[in-house]
């Protein structure tokens, strides 16, 4: 039962929503380095700390690699940590992203999605976070600023239960710099939702432990005669944690609904999928555009539904299969490209469907790279093109099509 609560609506851009969410999550150590379009977020957090509104250590590090190293080490003495970055900053963190996940530290990172060089481009696509897909982080994508606020708060609840760091991704400029109404929770509610961080390991001279030691592939016997994990077991446990995290993500979303009246008991958003013959798949703010496109297509008598991916890691395979069971055509829009192959979400959808009874045709379109405008109109045209292509063949093409409208 959702409780009745008074709305507390503010007009916020995505970065402001993220900053408020981090503050309300009572983060204790923040380490970040400015990069467009994340910069206003990190400035806002340092302002909260200097004003004394947020009791936290704000570390103005000299690089993103260091930002994540500060977070990993602060987390290991028991502090709740937050960082945010975009694009080159996330790429620069790459090594440390592996360490954060490998050490099972529940760090939350806001990734303000931006294109990556060369050449320079500060506008939005999702190549940055998709490139970090295999670092062992949970990745959740937001469609609007309310979701940014809510997802960051949920991210701590998720991360601190499964001991996997969470990357909350939202589109640069489209969300980060665009104001929208956001219902801001009150601190007591967030406190009720988010218990304090209980670390799995605390570095303390009173109980010395040596963390991240060289670890052999095979299990090894300790001085007490106990057999301890090898590297391979530790990697399996991370995979297992991500597999199991789906349940925690859904549960945390449900619990969020109970307190705040907004439901996140889902791993993706669906719109009119029940009777859809064609499903558009998109991730992030593009999913909102896809809903508009579905409206337009339905007006023309085409039964279109939308699947807006929210949780990209762990990838919700069985749920996706269930959602797509009636689709005859799946049109996947990707704001990223795995060069030489196809869009990352398209590959995921294909792999989820393999071996099921669903035999839908799949068409993949690469859109919106480097901030290239992509509107509902283009999604409609692409969907129609995909429908027309079925007359020629239902076989899925090897490579995606690119939409480069001007």
């Amino acid at each position: 039962m959702a409780i009745q609560r008074k709305a507390n609506v503010h007009i916020l851009d995505g970065n402001q929503a993220a900053a408020i969410a981090a503050m309300m999550s009572r983060v204790q150590v923040i380490a970040a380095y400015p990069i467009t379009p994340q910069t206003p977020l990190t400035e806002q957090l340092s302002r909260y700390v200097e004003q004394g509104e947020l009791q936290a250590e704000y570390v103005a590090v000299e690089s993103e690699h260091s930002a994540m190293a500060v977070c990993t080490s602060a987390s290991l003495v028991g502090a709740r940590t937050f960082t945010a970055t975009s694009s080159h900053g996330l790429a620069y963190m790459h090594e440390m992203l592996h360490w954060a996940a490998g050490a099972r530290l529940p760090i939350v990172l806001a990734c303000v999605n931006r294109a990556i060089g060369a050449p320079w481009n500060v506008l939005n696509d999702q190549q940055d976070s998709i490139s970090q897909r295999d670092t062992g982080w949970i990745q959740i994508y937001c469609r609007n600023n309310q979701e940014i606020m809510d997802t960051i708060i949920q991210a701590y609840r998720i991360a601190e239960q499964v001991f996997v760091p969470v990357m909350v991704c939202y589109d640069g400029y489209i969300l980060s710099h665009t104001e929208m109404p956001v219902d801001v929770p009150i601190q007591e509610e967030v406190d009720r939702y988010l218990p304090s961080y209980q670390p799995h390991t605390v570095l303390d001279p009173a109980n010395p432990k040596n963390y991240n030691l060289v670890t052999l592939a095979n299990p090894r016997v300790g001085v007490d005669g106990k057999l301890c994990h090898g590297y391979m077991e530790l990697r399996y446990l991370l995979q297992e944690a991500l597999q199991n995290s789906k349940e925690v993500i859904v549960k945390s979303g449900k619990e969020f609904n109970q307190l705040f009246g907004r439901d996140y008991a889902n791993v993706f958003w669906e719109d009119r999928n029940e009777d859809a013959e064609i499903t558009i798949v998109a991730m992030g703010s593009l999913a909102m555009e896809a809903i508009v496109a579905a409206d337009m297509l339905r007006e023309q008598g085409i039964k279109v539904g939308v699947l807006g991916l929210r949780v990209f890691r762990p990838f919700p395979k069985s749920e996706v299969v269930q959602a797509l069971r009636k689709s005859k055509l799946i049109v996947v829009f990707d704001k990223n490209i795995s060069y030489g192959s196809e869009g990352a979400t398209c590959s995921e959808i294909k792999s989820a469907l393999y071996g099921t009874y669903i035999n839908a045709a799949i068409r993949n379109f690469i859109v919106g790279l480097g901030g290239r405008d992509i509107k509902a109109r283009e999604l409609v045209e692409a969907t129609k093109k995909a429908i027309a292509s079925l007359k020629e063949t239902v076989v899925n093409p090897d490579y995606p099509e690119w939409i480069c409208e001007i």
Partner: protein, 301 residues
């Protein structure tokens, strides 16, 4: 009371049977560092021979809490430990970064410089074995002129060592000191002093390495002493900008300031097998000039 072999704290925080080579000076330096901190520290260690010393999961040779961190990140990791402890209101624990010369002079200089500029409250010890020993001895920014290594295999290194203590002093940090593993009590005193100071404290420790430098395992202490006696290593501390010679360098200065010639030091190590007489002369001139500068700068003579 100054530390001596008799009154030195008996408790050990590095257990016997660690994985360093016989005659390894880094383990000697680390041992006295942890004694000076009485184990009341949290250590961060990047990829290096110190990682090897720390052991293999689930067995460690070290009895202090430690996080192993990526090669470039030591200064930032120490920052994170400090920030975390501060955020949680935990007091009385010294954060110690313990890194090699590669992890300090080269790949780690960015995170160290950033942390020192922010005046983060930790002790950073660079143990200097003058090369990337963990990966089998390649040149580093601290490999001396003329030394052969895996990546200076035929000609020997053509450049001088990077002056890391000058770089760190330029950050305006409250305490900078040089040490040698061959003078462990001097090291011990310096770490003890550093422990009482707030801000970034930087210690550079000369740690001879038998397999990397190609000298017999039994001669570690001898080569460390020779380096000091020749002036290749000068033992000093700079506390709030005030420069003092210490330990053996101080007594040498007080006894007339004569240095042993550097030649013997070079020709008795395998790594200098291709060093030329001109290079030795060049190095001798460099040592003389620096020693003069130190004598001039010292406030305690």
């Amino acid at each position: 009371m100054k530390a001596n072999a008799v009154n030195l704290i008996e408790q050990e925080w590095i257990l016997p049977g660690n994985r360093t080579c016989p005659g390894c000076a880094l383990s000697l330096a680390y041992r006295h560092t942890l004694k000076a901190l009485e184990g009341q520290c949290i250590v961060t260690v990047p990829a290096s021979c110190a990682t090897v010393l720390h052991g293999m999961y689930p067995i460690t040779a070290v009895n202090v809490p430690c996080v192993n961190t990526p090669f470039a990140s030591t200064g930032a990791s120490a920052t994170g430990l400090v920030a975390g402890l501060k955020a949680l209101g935990k007091k009385g624990i010294t954060v110690l970064a313990f890194a090699g010369d590669g992890g300090t002079h080269d790949i780690g200089i960015q995170s160290l410089s950033g942390a020192a500029e922010r005046q983060m409250d930790f002790i950073y010890i660079c143990y200097d074995n003058e090369g990337y020993m963990n990966t089998g001895n390649q040149r580093s920014g601290s490999t001396p002129l003329g030394a052969v290594s895996g990546t200076t295999p035929i000609l020997g290194k053509q450049q001088y060592q990077k002056d890391i203590t000058a770089i760190m002093e330029a950050h305006g940090i409250p305490y900078v000191a040089t040490c040698s593993a061959s003078y462990p009590l001097d090291l011990y005193e310096k770490v003890k002093k550093a422990r009482t100071i707030e801000g970034t404290r930087f210690l550079h420790v000369h740690t001879p390495c038998p397999p990397g430098w190609l000298f017999p395992f039994s001669d570690t202490i001898k080569f460390g002493e020779m380096a000091v006696e020749t002036g290749l290593v000068v033992l000093y501390e700079i506390e709030n900008g005030i420069f003092r010679l210490t330990s053996h360098s101080e007594s040498m200065a007080l006894r007339g300031g004569n240095l042993q010639p550097v030649r013997e030091y070079f020709i008795s190590q395998g790594r200098f097998k291709t060093i030329t007489e001109e290079q030795i002369d060049e190095l001798q001139d460099w040592v003389n000039a620096r020693w003069k500068h130190c004598l001039h700068r010292a406030t305690n003579l």
